[in-house]
Symmetry: C2
Subunit: 373 residues, 2 copies
């Protein structure tokens, strides 16, 4: 390695540009503008041809080795692998994707990322995708409009992603997507999808049923629901399941209010509820609105759970520390992400059609619910 033709420190190392004998730390300390693009431009990474030369084979044979083709003799394979390790060769994604028309990238279209659910869904999706050897490109929407969705999709198509995961929790989004024929698989997460789009979701109906069932079992008869916005898939699903569960138990489903998921809207609704005192229990669409409710009740002197029971939805880490600790429905977002990528991979790799999968929720009973007075 006296006069290397290209920059590579060997041993599979991708940290280039070290003068012989110097540690990486040394280089940084020297005050060299290591992050100037210069270095990158000067650097010439080893390519198939270089590996081939070193191993004494053709570049195609090297390609076979790195792609695990069967028709390579053991001896050759080992020689090539040694050469790869020595040179620290790494396959050039751009060249590969130019010729294969595959980018090994999955685009994730997300919104509401500052909320607990969507953020954790993203986490699960990213983990699963990277494990499967895919890159994850993200487009977060500040506001959900047809325009911004199309923008993001165009962005992804420019990148020629192999598939798009849509984690936008509005019903409208799915409709907007159904109008596109993209040429790549689309998987919705947090929705069952449609006849055209695969979907992975937590079973919202079952979750609501668990929550309302719990209240009914405790002996409540007047159970209200604070729904999320009705342009959200989850908002609708939970409201409908509340309604269905009430009716099948022979109870009235007339105490329906609608918030916007925020603690603020929960607070406003809570003030009204505290004044009316029409229900002995409230099933709230998410934990944040439940937090607002609790605050309003506390201010108005309504005791939870003695006067009114409250159940939330999500089980955020904080929910166990509300005043009082909140009974709620837990969603396993990581599992959700995993399922979603499973669907995506079968669609990309096996060319499978549309299908959906459902993750079971779980009721977590804490201290915000009890039998009615």
């Amino acid at each position: 390695m006296e006069s290397p033709r290209f920059l590579a420190t060997g041993a599979g190392d991708f940290f280039a540009c070290l003068p012989p004998g110097a540690t990486a730390a040394f280089v940084l300390r020297r005050g060299v503008a290591h992050n100037s693009p210069m270095i990158k431009r000067n650097a010439r990474l080893p390519r198939l041809e270089d590996v081939a030369e070193r191993a004494g084979v053709s570049h195609q044979t090297v390609s076979r080795v790195i792609n695990n083709h069967p028709n390579v003799s053991k001896a050759t394979r080992e020689r090539v692998e040694a050469a790869i390790a020595e040179l620290g060769y790494r396959r050039n994604t751009a060249a590969r994707s130019l010729v294969t028309r595959r980018s090994q990238t999955i685009g994730v279209l997300a919104s509401e990322l500052s909320q607990y659910g969507p953020a954790n869904t993203l986490l699960g999706v990213e983990q699963a995708a990277r494990n499967a050897g895919y890159f994850v490109s993200i487009a977060a929407l500040k506001s959900v409009s047809r325009e911004s969705i199309f923008d993001a999709v165009r962005h992804f198509m420019d990148q020629s992603v192999d598939g798009i995961v849509v984690s936008v929790p509005h019903s409208e989004t799915l409709l907007a997507l159904a109008d596109l024929t993209l040429g790549v698989p689309v998987v919705a997460v947090g929705s069952l999808g449609s006849d055209a789009v695969s979907g992975a979701m937590v079973d919202q109906a079952r979750g609501a049923e668990l929550a309302v069932g719990h209240l009914i079992e405790l002996g409540h008869r007047r159970i209200g629901h604070v729904a999320g916005p009705q342009d959200w898939i989850d908002g609708v699903a939970r409201a409908e399941a509340w309604s269905a569960t009430m009716r099948s138990a022979g109870l009235e489903d007339d105490l329906l209010m609608t918030g916007d998921w925020s603690a603020g809207s929960g607070y406003e609704i809570g003030r009204k509820l505290a004044a009316e005192r029409s229900a002995t229990a409230i099933f709230v669409g998410n934990d944040q609105m439940a937090l607002g409710l609790l605050r309003a009740f506390n201010e108005a002197g309504v005791r939870v759970p003695d006067d009114v029971s409250v159940v939330g939805f999500d089980d955020q880490p904080e929910s166990g520390y509300f005043t009082p600790p909140l009974t709620t429905v837990r969603q396993d977002f990581e599992e959700l992400g995993r399922r979603c990528i499973d669907l995506m991979l079968t669609a990309i790799e096996d060319g499978k059609g549309v299908s959906s999968t459902v993750v079971a929720p779980e009721l977590v009973v804490r201290q915000s619910t009890s039998a009615p007075a």
Copy 2:
């Protein structure tokens, strides 16, 4: 357009494969496995050559148009632009990046994404990067270890990203990165960086000073601090600034406790504090731990703010709805992301060296603070 050689519906449309006269929706409804990879393989998108043919120029001229080279006559440019629009041409990223050695992609290394701060930082970074015409690739770390950081960095290098944004809030991470010479710019977000890495951060010291200063002004003398973990950059910075502010006001800085950011740890510490009653005010490292504190105080009959004042840090959306509404320090994460991408772009495009930038925090006074009894 009787027998198009490649699939494109014209009018800048990237939704391919429509038979003439059919709407996209129609195609989907037909039950065709639209998301099978088949369609993609069959599809042949227009390229420079196709546009050139249509406009009656050479492919190089088209290239000049899309890259805004000056030496193209107005007439030619218009003809080319028309052809581009008609064919719905979009530049092939892989081919471009193969030859330019630029991927137009920024890698974001993130962790703790389920927490408010990091999630919003990501949002800001993504927004700014996409606005600047970059793709955003994400690698989320489940656990922060040298191993997982190197994995993620290798992942990014395989993708040949043009730069890496590091949003991992542990001090250790920066150290791990300082040991690498990557050949691409690295910008830390949520840290000032080092002599080798640029950084953008919210001014934690100023934030803590605002919080503690507010309490001192109200007349408090015994002010405790519930710090975040001391392997977190923010945790250390806030604790140190609390200490410095106390001492420069001639007050003791001996009431220091350490939590782990969670409401749970805040609750535990809150129980101890409620028993001891050693402080008249507590500056808590983040809003979640403050929530735990409030709950512990409420259980123990300690009134906030009458008996003890509490200040948080972050200003999450819920914090205004705690019991009582929390006085806290707001961080503008979006602005933070913007600054971070600014640094990145100058590093990538102008080859500028290492620098850092600081975003000012803001004190939000609500009802959890008052003068001591």
